[in-house]
Amino acid sequence: MSEKSIPRLVQGNEAIALGAIHAGCRFYGGYPITPSTEIAEEMSRLLPHIGGSYVQMEDEISSIAAVIGASLTGQKSMTATSGPGFSLMQENLGYAAMAEIPLVLVNVQRGGPSTGLPTDPAQGDMMQARWGTHGEHSIIALVPSTVAECFTLTVEAFNLSERYRTPVIILSDALIGHMRENIRLDQLLKAKVIERPQPWMSPEDYRPFASTERTVVPLAPIGTEYRYRVTGLVHDMSGSPKTGDKRTIEDTGRRLRSKIYDYREEITRVEMTAMDDAEVAIFAYGSVARSAYEAVMWARERGHKVGMVRPITIWPFPTLQMREVADQVHSIVVPEMNIKQIAWETRAAIEGRANVVSMNRIDGTLIAPGEIISSLRDVLRAKGGAA
């Protein structure tokens, strides 16, 4: 056995840093904030050894702005933050979506709003990740629920951001971020990495914002012979502001949405557990999914046909997968550390195909398996079975 295959006890935040390094991230612009700080600290230690840059900025607005600048030069770049910092980053998150600049933004969620609960986990930023920045746009957001997944989803986030030229958000939380689990680094290091594509056309023919539904125009490193403009204004395919042309405005808005929305099936991943014959599904994500798994085991031991659907991608929402699930089960239980943010989305997605039972906790405490079990009991009883 090589030294590498020895399991290593790693913290969730540390795994995100390790995943980012593996994915080829060589720029980190950040600002310390609990409970995400370890990512910045880890990057400040690792990046100088491999020719990367760690820059500690003066606030979160500058952090994401620096990441945008760095990414334009061709470097894979990231930042990490939590609630208040995520709020400050919203404007530039929209900028990155508008100017189609790949970057990875990690939000290790804590209780909010405002300063909220700095050291306790929450899942209150699910909708903010989707709609926090103003205007019509699409976003990709991934939700890890193990330390190993902190690594693999960070790699995936970089891959998706390069593939679709878009910001990608990782929605971790204080529990996953500060938890330690064994990971097998030699296995994780096999994760496939997508490099940033280079333009295939000549500099004269280069139109950086001419992506269509079928192709994404590669982002040329700025400052090379591929000259182009970058702006947050509505722009034409060369990057020139074009705010007077209704057609361009409409097309830009629709394309920014469809370039991700149309690829939902390719992007959106869910994990099914014991779903083959399930009549009730628990739909849980992030740290809550760990408790939900226990609840499924409890139910199965007692012969109840309960399964679990765990979204790995939360945005774009796994609408099609959830419709199929809803056709199969009579009830979907959605436990989450916010008040119905994803339960509402689930209801909207499945359009009445099944009953959605929401259970919530927002006191900074993880939802325990027992609480999910008692919700399950209610659901099973209501259907006439003994629970």
Binding site: P32, T37, E41, S44, R45, P48, H49, Q56, E58, S114
Partner: protein
């Protein structure tokens, strides 16, 4: 200035039972400054150690009205309060002779970095308020990450000592007191807990000066500086006598150095007791150490020059 005897009878601004670390400068700063406030104080405080450790649910250590703003805007929040208070006063809804002392507190992170924009705006707009920075030289609340107040050469959790970086932080600290003086506000001062009388006089001056005032006070941090809690005041003293932290004021544009050490102590005396500078005394870092001294000498000379220039102009 009030007599020491009277000051001891004044109620503490910060009551006992707060959870700041032993030897922390912030609580001493608040309590000493609070004694010099004649008018009832209204306090705004940015996110940071001072806020976190004094307002742990369900308690508060503050004996005055207290607003914890977001991290980046205690100066803006307090300027809103002050402006509304003035408006209510001019409408006659608050008696014309009423007096309040609006004070904003922030650490160096919330002042030099993320809160800088809101501080600059508040000072420039001329609100009748005092902004107090307790400068401990890093983001101590989140675990000692570097700030723009972190001194050159200090090891922090984001400027760690490693094989590639052996000198710690490789940038100079921002001279925020000078930056605030450049705002051309009525009163700006830099102070130290070690020079108590000077500190108290500056607090009184800041609180009673109409318009904006800014105080920058060195706040020793045993956890972040890696020092003994009992050494905090002695370290403040060394900071002044080595000219690492000169105490001076800019009163209506006139620069005055309040303490000129007769024999400037070598900066190593200030650095040596601190764990965050330990690596500077390791072999190979002699040049870095020498450079720290050079920079301090340079800054001190420049400060004296500014003060002398001010004096000459006043004499004319």
């Amino acid at each position: 200035m009030a007599k020491l005897k009277d000051l001891t009878h004044k109620e503490d601004t910060l009551g006992s039972g707060h959870r700041l670390c032993p030897g922390c400068g912030a609580s001493i700063i608040v309590n000493q400054l609070g004694r010099m406030s004649e008018a009832p104080m209204v306090v705004g405080c940015a996110t940071g150690c001072l806020e976190v450790a004094t307002t742990i649910y369900p308690y508060t250590a503050w004996n005055v009205p207290f607003i914890h703003s977001a991290f980046e805007n205690s100066a803006a929040t307090v300027s809103g309060m002050e402006a509304a208070y003035e408006a209510l006063k001019s409408k006659g809804k608050i008696p014309a002779d009423d007096k309040r002392n609006f004070v904003a507190f922030g650490g160096d992170g919330g002042t030099y970095d993320i809160g800088f924009q809101s501080l600059s705006g508040a000072m420039e707009r001329g609100h009748n308020m005092t902004y107090v920075c307790y400068d401990n030289g890093a983001y101590m609340n989140t675990g000692m990450q570097r700030s723009s107040a972190t001194p050159y050469g200090a090891a922090t959790s984001t400027t760690p000592i490693g094989t590639h970086a052996t000198a710690g932080k490789e940038e100079y600290r921002k001279d925020l007191t000078a930056v605030m003086a450049a705002h051309n506000i009525p009163y700006v001062a830099q102070a130290s807990l070690s020079n108590w009388k000077d500190l108290m006089r500056k607090a009184e001056k800041a609180f009673t000066t109409p318009g904006p005032a800014f105080l920058n006070i060195l706040s020793p941090c045993p956890r972040g500086w890696r020092t003994e809690p009992g050494d905090s005041i002695e370290l403040s003293r060394l900071a002044v006598s080595t000219c690492y932290w000169p105490i001076f004021e800019v009163d209506n544009g006139e620069w005055k150095v309040n303490h000129r050490p007769k024999n400037k102590v070598p900066v190593t005396e200030f650095l040596k007791p601190q764990g965050r500078f330990k690596h500077l005394f390791a072999k190979g870092n002699e040049k870095v150490l020498a450079h720290v001294q050079e920079k301090i000498d340079h800054d001190w000379d420049q400060l004296l020059w500014k003060a002398d220039f001010s004096k000459d102009r006043t004499a004319e």
